[in-house]
Amino acid sequence: MRSSMLPCTPLPVLLLVVACAATPGPGGRSLYEDLGGQPGVERLVTATVRLAHSDKRISFLFEKMNDAELIRQLQDQICYLSGGPCEYKGRSMSEAHSGMDINEAEFDAFVERLTDAMVGTGIPHSARNRLLSLLAPMREEIIHQ
């Protein structure tokens, strides 16, 4: 089906962005636009972090983080991945999650909260899945680091 997912898997974030970003949606709009542009991504990321804090399965992973910094990094990254006018200057995914030893269940729990945040902020089904398909290949660099 979407063969472009395959080459993304083992590559660092920067290459992944080149390989996968900005897959246009049905109307030829970028995913970034379908996410609601900068305000949409900001709402989404803020809601995701809030939900992650309230989910007892994963809240401990976020306890020691600086929320403002986390929100900024996630915002840049999603903006960048979705074809928006941003650069992601943060650490690589494996560096950023080093020492956290996130397991499969915790990863899925975060995806669930991210999805809830997308539903909650009114992002349509197709845009939600296009974003998830860009994030899914990062799983191997996030879990068990």
Binding site: M1, E104, G120, H125, A127, N129, R130, S133
Partner: protein, 282 residues
């Protein structure tokens, strides 16, 4: 988060947690008790248990065609997203056929014990699709009628291998599920008419496949095809197909409606009808 469909609001279920895997990734329960679609097992394991978690489900299915009615119910449990065990029972109402032929029973019952193991890969993540292998031990509890039709045995084992993948971006952002499998079986009409027959006593290699699209996060529309053996000379056995719509209002419940086409069953042709299944997940 509550869910609204056709104006019906369902509150979220509080108090106990299912596993962590994502909504709908446990599929529903196929007619022989394994996690899958309605007719065909998928490589996914029942419930939502991720590694280090467990889960499973309870299901009840009712199917009705022109001349038959089939009820099925069962329970499954899966551990660590690795292995699934299931127990189920089927009861087929053959009233019309029994009247026509003066048969000794008007219902046929069988019990099925299933085991499925995830071999490698994942439904969603990584480059390798999820591969599973399974077996279904079936025991026909009303063997008088199957014996009359030429069936050889009242119990046997089906083996199967399958691969499933869900592409998240799918078609314009609508996730697409594809499942293909091979079954090694000599079961006549799932085993309800026994195993092996006067025409062919050995296992056949049978192809099974499913395809679906997630129209919404909680709504899977799909189609399935299941090849069948043809072991009994008294009546030809046709391949099966179905089109289904499964609704997952939350991770504790799914409701599935389907149109099924079973072809000719025990000499009665044109057996199409409906299928309805309710499943509770834990």
């Amino acid at each position: 988060m509550g869910v609204v469909l056709f104006g019906i609001a369902l509150p979220p279920v509080q108090g106990f947690d299912t596993g962590s895997r994502l909504l709908a990734t446990g599929g529903i329960t196929q007619i022989e008790g394994a996690a899958g679609g309605g007719l065909v097992p998928w490589a996914v394991l029942s419930g939502y248990g991720q590694k280090d978690e467990w889960g499973g489900d309870l299901f009840v299915t009712y199917a009705r065609t022109d001349d038959y009615a089939l009820g099925a119910a069962g329970v499954s449990v899966a551990f660590g997203n690795r292995v699934e065990f299931s127990l189920s029972t089927q009861l087929l109402d053959i009233d019309d056929l029994a009247d026509d032929l003066g048969l000794p029973d008007d219902t046929l019952r069988q019990e099925i014990v299933g085991v499925k193991a995830r071999l490698l890969g994942d439904l969603i993540y990584g480059v390798v699709p999820q591969f599973s292998a399974g077996l279904q031990y079936k025991h026909n509890a009303d063997f008088d009628v199957p014996a009359l039709t030429g069936a050889r045995d009242d119990d046997d084992i089906d083996f199967y291998l399958n691969a499933s993948r869900l592409w998240l971006s799918g078609i314009y952002g609508y996730p697409v599920l594809v499942n293909v499998g091979l079954r090694f079986s000599r079961a006549n009409q799932l085993g309800l008419l026994g195993f092996g027959g006067d025409k062919d006593g050995s296992r056949d290699t049978l192809f099974e496949a499913s395809a679906g699209i997630l129209l919404r996060r909680d709504l899977l529309l799909g189609y399935e095809y299941r090849q069948k053996p043809d072991n009994l000379s008294f009546a030809a056995e046709d391949d099966w197909q179905d089109a289904f719509l499964a609704w997952f209002p939350n991770k504790y419940l799914s409701l599935t409606g389907a149109w099924i086409d079973l072809g000719s069953v025990a000499g009665k042709s044109g057996q199409d009808g409906f299928y309805f299944s309710v499943e509770g997940t834990y």
